[in-house]
């Protein structure tokens, strides 16, 4: 008998599917949810920036289940494993709900701060007092905030230049380059409709970045040819038609050789280049020395393969060479700002811009809110020296910061008195141990949902709401050709009295009174209906749909907000500030060659695992059960030579870094080896987002490796010496030694 799914489901529903027996016997599957008291709300997931649409099932005021919102054109009604843990994010056993104040003056790793609960108003008053004192004595620059950009408004209103965001370790290299070449950052690759997908380390499908993973797989289903260059056999590689192992950090050489082939063989899109591109002459001239034979010597990829793939990429249309945040062209390697530029040149000269299946500028229609009163001129220069990188600072003015240089910079800045950490785990900062030393004599205020490691340095801890479920808001994310706004709704009553936003306003009010200025007027106050003006919908109406796409035909938008009005293959801003406008290969960024590796030395790299996102997922029981620790990935052949077996305890220590500094065991971690054929014999991988030492977290596994134990703190001067326009972190530019414990 053949019955369709619909009929089957109907049949099940009609017969009640032995409900009577089940009602008695199902233990874990709790009794069928009563229809009374159950309500469904639309909201958006708060785990990552994709903000997938969510339908939240709430029973008697308690969140019981979440699932994807099928109206969402990006996430298509699905949520990744991280998003599905919403219930455990909201009702996490370790969650704090009351402000805490330190009673033990001694700060440090594993030293119990002996927290005492205090009242909300009392805590705010204390913070305002400290801020007022600091501003009076040292000026507004003595206030620093590290973390979420939401809090930056307050710092700007006060006139402090010291607000820092994590961009240098996250999305800086793709986004800044995109901004200067195309006039807008966060470009969208239409992988779903592409016929050719060329990935240089791009592995968003392996991170389970929901909209991108689905688009990629749909592209594969639609018959796109996928080619992957990566030293690790990633999930993207496992779905690829062709996979090429490449020496770590040498992707740029291959891309330059591909541009060389396309230019020499006249395979580029002449009409498009003439009409919309600036700087092609320079590209033609400079790229001539980068032959595929040269690239073969550097990258280990055969020259004939480079030629063939370049030809295929140029002649198959539409095609994409994607990049997104970390991973492909991300800030894991210093050279990657050049890789991002080279990949965008490749995309532009083949004419795969603003066509279906190619590259798009993000469509955004939310109206930006400006404060009533313009903030004052900042008091001095940012302490990390961001302003000395003019290209970087012009783009990143809103959320600046050299995260990797912050520990050094903070320890030198005596005038800093109050430091805010807003949703930022200190473990995410490269060289975090130095940061702890720097913070010991500062007044530290922490906003968090979980009592993580940052709380060990806090003088005052403010609990916050869980993003996506306990506060209202709007979000607009570009993952497809059409703009779309999604709602963030309060679906359950938060266990905390004030959210971060409320505390910010309270501080502004009280501090303003003390200083005699109206700080509230300098803050942008969100008005949802006004922001939604271009969509032609109100916030109340949006509650009915959850998401609302911008209606209308798709129109290519070939106006570029750059100084020349064209795609700047060689950005004019680089020339203006005296930087090299062409992404020339430079040996100094990857001074490590395979031949220089000693027997027990490896190139280091890191990647994200589907169920992990930095430290946000570190204390979720379902996730810790499924994926408790991050092992050290080693190729079995190489491990055999070193006498390492699967599951052995190993020590990983840094030998040298990209700046040529040598280390002898200062930076090391202990972990468990995982022998896997998925890595090149020259490379070891440690996934990130694991490990803990906070004793307040009862679920996170302390055997996990804290990756930033390995990443050395850096200084702004080192970056200035290299004369790079975009000082990205380069976390993975390390050579490590792996020894059996």
């Amino acid at each position: 008998m053949h019955i369709s799914r619909r009929e089957f489901l109907k049949l099940c529903a009609a017969t009640g599917l032995s409900t009577t027996i089940l009602g008695r016997f199902r233990l874990l599957v709790k009794a069928r949810e009563e229809k009374v008291g159950v309500k469904y709300y639309y909201t958006s997931c708060g785990v990552c920036g994709a903000h997938c649409g969510v339908i939240a099932k709430v029973k008697n005021g308690i969140l019981i289940e979440v699932c994807g919102n099928p109206n969402d054109q990006h996430s298509r009604g699905k949520l990744c494993g991280k998003g599905l843990t919403a219930v455990q994010q909201v009702y996490n056993p370790d969650r704090i709900t009351q402000p805490l104040i330190r009673t033990n003056p001694e700060k440090g790793i594993c030293i119990d701060p002996k927290f005492r609960r205090i009242d909300w108003d009392e805590a705010i008053d204390l913070v305002v007092e400290k801020m007022y004192d600091a501003i009076k004595r040292f000026g507004p620059k003595s206030i620093v905030t590290i973390g979420h950009h939401k809090f930056n408004d307050l710092l700007k209103a006060i006139g402090s230049p010291n607000y820092f965001c994590h961009h240098a370790t996250c999305n800086a290299s793709p986004f800044v380059v995109q901004k200067y070449m195309f006039g807008s950052a966060g470009l969208v690759y239409d992988l779903e409709n592409a016929k050719y997908i060329l990935c240089f380390g791009w592995n968003q499908v392996g991170n389970a970045k929901n909209p991108l993973a689905q688009a990629f797989i749909n592209g594969v289903k639609n018959g796109a040819k996928v080619v992957v260059f990566d030293p690790v056999f990633t999930i993207a590689a496992s779905k690829a038609d062709e996979y090429y192992p490449i020496n770590p950090g040498t992707d740029l050489a291959v891309v330059l050789a591909m541009i060389n082939t396309i230019v020499n063989e006249n395979l580029y899109d002449k009409d498009f280049v003439d009409k919309y591109c600036y700087g092609f002459d320079k590209v033609t001239k400079e790229v001539s020395k980068y032959t595929p034979e040269w690239a073969e010597r550097i990258s280990g990829v055969p020259a004939n393969v480079i030629r063939r793939i370049a030809r295929e990429f140029a002649t198959t249309k539409p095609a994409c060479a994607p990049m997104w945040k970390r991973g492909g062209a991300g800030p894991l390697r210093l050279i990657n700002y050049k890789l991002a530029q080279a990949l965008l040149i490749l995309q532009a000269i083949t004419g795969n811009v603003e066509v279906k299946g190619g590259l798009f500028k993000p469509r955004k229609n939310l109206v930006k809110i400006k404060p009533k009163e313009a903030p004052p001129k900042p008091d001095g220069e940012p302490l990390d020296g961001s302003n000395m990188f003019p290209v970087w600072d012009l783009y990143n003015g809103a959320c600046r910061g050299l995260y990797q240089a912050l520990p050094t910079a903070l320890s030198r800045a005596d005038y800093v008195k109050v430091v805010f950490f807003t949703h930022q785990n200190i473990l995410s900062i490269p060289g975090y141990r130095k940061m702890i030393e720097a913070l010991k004599d500062k007044f530290v205020v922490v906003f968090t949902t979980l009592p993580d490691e940052t709380c060990y340095l806090a003088d005052v801890v403010f609990p916050d709401i869980v993003g996506g479920y306990e506060g209202n808001g709007l979000t607009e994310r570009a993952f497809s050709r059409f703009a779309q706004v999604s709602i963030i709704q309060k679906v359950v009553d938060p266990p905390v009295k004030y959210s971060l936003g409320k505390v910010k306003i309270e501080i502004a009010k009280r501090l303003g009174n003390k200083l005699g200025v109206n700080l509230i007027n300098r803050l942008p106050i969100r008005k949802p209906d006004y922001m939604l003006k271009k969509y032609g919908i109100t916030f109340e109406e949006l509650k009915k749909y959850g998401v609302y796409p911008y209606h209308g035909e798709f129109k290519p938008n070939l106006k570029f907000k750059t100084p020349t009005g064209k795609i700047e293959l060689t950005p004019t801003i680089y020339e203006k500030h005296g930087y090299d406008p062409f992404p020339h290969w430079e040996d100094m960024f990857t001074s490590f060659y395979v031949s220089q590796l000693k027997d027990d030395e490896f190139f280091f790299t890191t990647m994200r695992i589907p169920l992990r996102r930095n430290y946000k997922m570190n204390n979720i029981p379902w996730i810790v059960d499924e994926d408790p620790i991050n092992p050290v990935w080693i190729n079995p052949r190489r491990a055999h030579k070193l006498g390492i077996k699967d599951g052995d305890e190993v020590i990983v220590e840094v030998v040298r870094d990209v700046f040529g500094k040598k280390y002898s065991g200062e930076l090391k971690v202990t972990g468990f080896a995982k022998l896997t054929k998925r890595v090149s014999p020259n490379v070891t991988v440690i996934p990130y987002g694991y490990g803990k030492w906070s004793k307040f977290l009862t679920i996170a596994d302390k055997r996990g490796i804290i990756l930033n134990e390995l990443v050395p703190p850096r200084s702004t001067d080192e970056y200035l010496k290299l004369r790079i326009p975009i000082p990205i972190s380069g976390d993975a530019d390390l050579v490590v030694r792996v020894v059996k414990k």
Binding site: M1, H2, I3, S4, R5, F8, L9, L11, C12, A13, T15, G16, L17, S18, L22, R24, F25, R26, L27, L28, V29, K30, R32, E65, V66, C67, G68, K78, L79, C80, G81, L84, T85, V205, G206, A208, N210, A213, I217, V220, K221, F233, I235, A237, S238, K239, Y243, Y244, P245, P610, L611, P621, W622, D625, N635, T676, K677, R678, S680, P681
Partner: protein
């Protein structure tokens, strides 16, 4: 009779199915009805990497049911294998008999396993794991005929 069917070609090993299952069935710690197996074949760089998402197969002739001394394991008319929690004595014979290592034991010591989300089927919904699968790699067929048609398209029919 429902069959889980699986397409390893498009599975990305994201484990959404596992978390969705845990969420829907409100599973306690250390209990999972579904697991994800990673298989590496070949040598680097000529490697094949595949994932398999596996739960109870709801066998036609379940070995667990045959060995259960308490007769706690039974099969519904729709072909779904269930455990009567009131009767289960937690002896663990089913775990020995099952070729796939499906039976797990909850903190009370009773055997628990995939129920094919029978409660969701009643409401006219797909099982939690199927509806959570990001890429559509995990699905189910409702009859042997449908399953065999899918098999020709490269799907794996998870039935024993």
């Amino acid at each position: 009779m429902p069959f889980f069917i699986f397409n390893p070609e498009i599975c990305i090993g994201c484990r959404s199915c596992i978390i969705a299952c845990k969420q829907h069935n409100k599973l306690p710690r250390q209990v999972a009805y579904r697991s994800c197996v990673e298989v590496e074949r070949g040598e680097y760089p000529n490697l094949q990497l595949t994932f398999f998402s596996i739960a109870c197969m709801h066998c036609t002739n379940p070995p667990c049911m045959r060995v259960c001394p308490a007769r706690a394991i039974y099969k519904t008319s729709e072909g779904i294998v269930l455990v009567n929690q009131d009767v289960c004595i937690g002896c663990g014979y089913c775990a020995f008999a099952c070729p796939f290592g499906v039976p797990t034991f909850n903190p009370e010591g009773k055997m628990v396993k995939c129920t094919f989300c029978i409660d969701r089927l009643e409401e006219g919904l797909d099982p939690a794991c199927v509806s959570a699968c990001l890429t559509g790699a995990l699905d189910y067929a409702t009859s042997a005929l449908e399953a065999s048609l899918k098999k020709k398209e490269g799907w794996i029919v998870l039935k024993f």
